[in-house]
């Protein structure tokens, strides 16, 4: 058995020897029983390692993990800070959000058309108000109340301008993104567009509906958030 060749047996086994050395080693193996035996033993070791099975821990580690998990901070949307912040939705989050949107949007419009909300109590202001305040923890009831104070035309104009700008960025840099990411973004945009289309049509029939106004504003916000995420991805790769 030759030390020089013995040291190269693992590389030979893994197919990592250059052709010339491989041929030389094979010539050596033909006449060296020691090296041939060692090679076979190394093959057994590698094969056994590849067959090693995973084993769960003896104790359940989950309770110790669960108590160390910090609750997620609620995310808020601030339209005025569009250029200063980056949103970090992941691809799966976008896909899940899309599915949720599809279900919620249809249901929300249907509810708005079939169940008229009670008139806003006297004293609630109907003066114009920006829709950029954080709203992540609102309940459905408070969302309806707040929506009563949101003039859709005013908000829609703001959102439409932001959307147009962000869509321009996405169009310009579309080719820089992973195709799967682009597909996910575009699919979610289509879902949101369907939802906003439904809301606008319903509003045409009932322009004063506070629920529909609020629903449209929510859809537009989602679209801005999604486009911001796409723009952030472009920025991250740029």
């Amino acid at each position: 058995m030759t030390g020089h060749w013995t040291e190269r047996l693992s590389e030979y086994l893994d197919g990592e020897l250059p052709a010339l050395e491989r041929a030389s080693l094979e010539a050596h193996l033909a006449g060296c029983a020691g090296c041939a035996r060692t090679l076979e033993e190394l093959r057994v070791v590698a094969a056994r390692a590849a067959r090693l099975q995973v084993r769960p821990p003896g104790d359940d580690l989950w309770p110790g993990i669960a108590e160390r998990l910090e609750p997620r901070a609620a995310r808020t949307l601030d339209l005025g800070a569009a250029r200063a912040r980056r949103w970090s939705f992941t691809l799966p989050q976008l896909a899940a959000a899309g599915l949720l949107l599809m279900l919620l949007s249809g249901g929300a419009v249907w509810l708005a058309l079939t169940r008229r909300p009670a008139p806003a109590p006297a004293g609630i202001s109907t003066a114009p108000r920006l829709a950029s305040a954080p709203e992540t923890s609102r309940t459905a009831d408070t969302a309806v109340s707040a929506a009563a104070a949101l003039p859709a035309a005013y908000d829609a104009a703001r959102y439409d301008a932001a959307i147009a700008e962000l869509e321009g960025v996405l169009r310009e840099h579309r080719g820089e993104l992973d195709p799967a990411t682009v597909r996910a973004i575009e699919e979610n945009l289509r879902i949101i567009d369907r939802a906003t289309g439904q809301a606008r049509r319903a509003l045409a029939a009932d322009p004063a509906s506070p629920y529909l106004n609020g629903h449209l504003a929510e859809q537009l916000k989602l679209k801005v958030a999604l486009l911001r995420q796409a723009a952030a991805l472009v920025g991250a790769r740029g």
Partner: protein, 191 residues
């Protein structure tokens, strides 16, 4: 432990595995704060992560480091973009946590002494009835550098270039360490 039949090996969730839709959904839910979804991910992957930690660091530290891996995964889920399987992403993260722990431990642990004498102790060990446990025990007693490379290459299926990058060494070094590990295990298994 080696079992016959359909048991899972460390390579069954190796890089390149097609992302599972249910896992992507759970990952998205966990990223949004759903701890139940995260627990499902934990249940699905804990065996592989714990086995990696045990083989790389030893049984004493494996549980603690496995917990660290999942806590880190919870913190980092926002960076998971679904471009690879969740298991692949988690495993990469686990390797980094394990190697960081290894670096933190430094040379304090005498059992990691570099030298073939480490393997000699195995000869006096009572014969195990389970060949898989026997082999796992032999891996845990390899010299540190050889063990890391052996586990990552032969057990987990990483390539030399990847291992070299993870360890900050050349692929020539990882090839030499792998050969050393195999030669040591060959002697042990041959006895």
């Amino acid at each position: 432990m080696e079992h016959a039949g359909s048991a899972v090996t460390a390579r069954d969730r190796a890089p390149g595995t097609v992302p599972a839709a249910a896992e992507l959904k759970d990952a998205a839910a966990a990223a949004a704060g759903d701890t139940r979804a995260f627990e499902r991910l934990y249940r699905a992957h804990v065996a592989r992560i714990h086995s990696l930690a045990r083989r790389m660091l030893g049984a004493d530290l494996a549980g603690e480091v496995t917990q660290d891996v999942f806590v880190r995964a919870w913190q980092k889920l926002g960076t998971f973009r679904g471009e690879a399987a969740f298991g692949t992403w988690l495993h990469r993260l686990a390797v980094n946590v394990v190697l960081a722990e290894r670096a933190r431990l430094g040379t304090r642990r005498g059992r990691f002494a570099e030298g073939e004498g480490v393997m000699d102790a195995l000869a006096a060990r009572p014969a195990a009835t389970d060949a898989g446990l026997d082999f796992d025990a032999a891996i845990e007693r390899l010299p540190e550098g050889a063990r890391q490379v052996f586990v990552l290459h032969d057990v987990e299926g990483y390539r030399h270039e990847e291992i070299a990058s993870l360890l900050g060494v050349t692929s020539g070094t990882t090839k030499a360490q792998l050969h050393r590990a195999r030669m040591l295990l060959r002697r042990h298994l041959g006895s």
